[in-house]
């Protein structure tokens, strides 16, 4: 799957990754247990484009590209940052979303309580997105 081009995330490839997220997360029993009390809607902003991930009791219930629904909270970054964040075997400093947050290359918006209360779960979900690049 061609998911990255020229140092920037290819939006169609990103959408393809998001589309397989439910299968990947819902098939991971340990990750589901970590998120079993979590119900929320996460919005991923890739530049001007956005993607929604609806989570119910830790399971990915729905993913969608665009649309009118907003999330409870959002992770916002430029396509070039998502490209680095989701790269396979990233170099030091690009291996965790909090590193990008520290450098203000990634922003968080909305009520981030679900994120902070389930940090390890969300890091696991992001790792599933990264796995798709392999």
């Amino acid at each position: 799957m061609a998911v990255v081009t020229g140092g920037s995330v290819d939006l169609d490839g990103f959408a393809a990754r998001i589309a397989t997220l439910a299968e990947r997360v819902n098939g991971d029993a340990a990750l589901l247990r970590r998120g079993r009390f979590l119900t929320t809607v996460l919005q991923l902003l890739v530049g001007e484009e956005f993607f929604l991930v609806r989570i119910v009791d830790g399971r990915i219930a729905e993913t969608r590209r665009g649309g009118l629904t907003t999330g409870d909270f959002a992770m916002i970054a430029e396509p070039s940052v998502w490209h680095r964040l989701l790269a396979t075997d990233p170099p030091p400093g690009d291996h965790d979303f909090l590193a990008f947050y520290k450098r203000k290359e990634l922003r968080l918006a909305g009520d981030i309580h679900p994120l902070m209360a389930h940090l390890l779960y969300f890091k696991g979900v992001l790792a599933k997105l990264r796995e798709d690049a392999r």
Partner: protein, 283 residues
């Protein structure tokens, strides 16, 4: 697999500091030059389990790792329930000096990681003649707080879970799962508000940028070792300390992150052993 017992002994020290009594837990292994080890924020001395079990170290050094008050098996002081724990530079330096004095250690080597890597800079500045050498792991002069630490201590977020989530990415991505999750377990076991209280020193009170040029490494050698995957105290942060402190020796460690001694003790020892050898030979 047959059962084994590690050559590590744990004991409790009762000591006074700043008018209060403390029950402090420490572990020790080996004999020779005392090597006092300081854990990271919100964790405890178990981070040094690999060092305690490394004959190459314990043949020449008495490794001593104590849990700071409020951490691990060390108790908070009497009356803790009515106060907020907040680590200051003075209290951190004072507690370390009180422990060394109470243990009767003469010119030990002190090695600390993260907040411990910061406080060795304070020790080098305030008490250089008290130490044979100082080793800072993941040392920085200052780290600007990069997330709201109030998330670490509130009733509607599990403090242990969020602490582990906050630091998990600081571990090298290729570290073995057993050591990764052991390291995170220590964070999950921290007392309420303790990690947050330590970060007051790390992000606010412990800023030592201005004093760095006053550190004299001809009195007390200073070694700085930092993992390449540490994005909290970055290699650039440590290199900046190295540039500001004449004579400081900096090593950047491949594959390791913010908790080198706990992430991959064998790999860490490859970097530490030459340092310990130099210290031992220097006398």
């Amino acid at each position: 697999m047959s059962a084994t017992i590690e050559p590590v002994i744990g004991r409790y020290l009762h000591m006074d500091y700043a008018g209060r009594r403390y029950r402090v837990y420490f572990e020790t292994a080996g004999s020779g030059i005392p090597l006092v080890c300081l854990h990271t924020a919100g964790a405890d001395g178990r981070q040094y389990r690999g060092l305690m079990n490394a004959p190459a170290v314990t043949e020449r050094f008495q490794v001593i790792a104590f849990d700071m008050p409020w951490h691990g098996k060390s108790s908070p002081p009497d009356g803790w329930q009515d106060e907020e724990y907040r680590l200051t530079s003075d209290a951190y330096v004072g507690t370390i000096m009180a422990f060394i004095d109470a243990m009767g250690l003469e010119r030990p080597v002190v090695m600390g990681c993260s907040i411990g890597g910061r406080v060795v800079l304070h020790l080098a500045h305030r008490h250089p003649r008290a130490f044979r050498a100082l080793i800072g792991l993941e040392s920085s002069a200052h780290v600007e707080p990069y997330y709201d630490t109030s998330w670490l201590h509130r009733g509607d977020v599990h403090g242990g879970e969020v602490a582990a989530g906050a630091v998990s990415g600081l571990i090298g991505p290729n570290i073995a799962p057993a050591e990764r999750w052991e390291t995170l377990w220590h964070y999950m076991q921290g007392g309420p508000g303790v990690f947050k209280g330590d970060l007051y020193f790390y992000g606010i009170d412990g800023d030592i940028r201005r004093q760095l040029p006053e550190i004299d490494t001809t009195i007390c050698p200073l070694y700085l070792l930092t993992g390449e995957y540490d994005y909290s105290c970055t290699p650039q942060d440590t290199l900046a300390v190295g540039r500001a402190v004449p004579g400081a020796k900096v090593t950047i460690m491949k594959e390791l992150g913010h908790f080198p001694m706990s992430e991959d003790p064998a790999r860490f020892l490859q970097y530490l052993e030459p340092v310990l050898h130099e210290i031992a030979e220097r006398g």
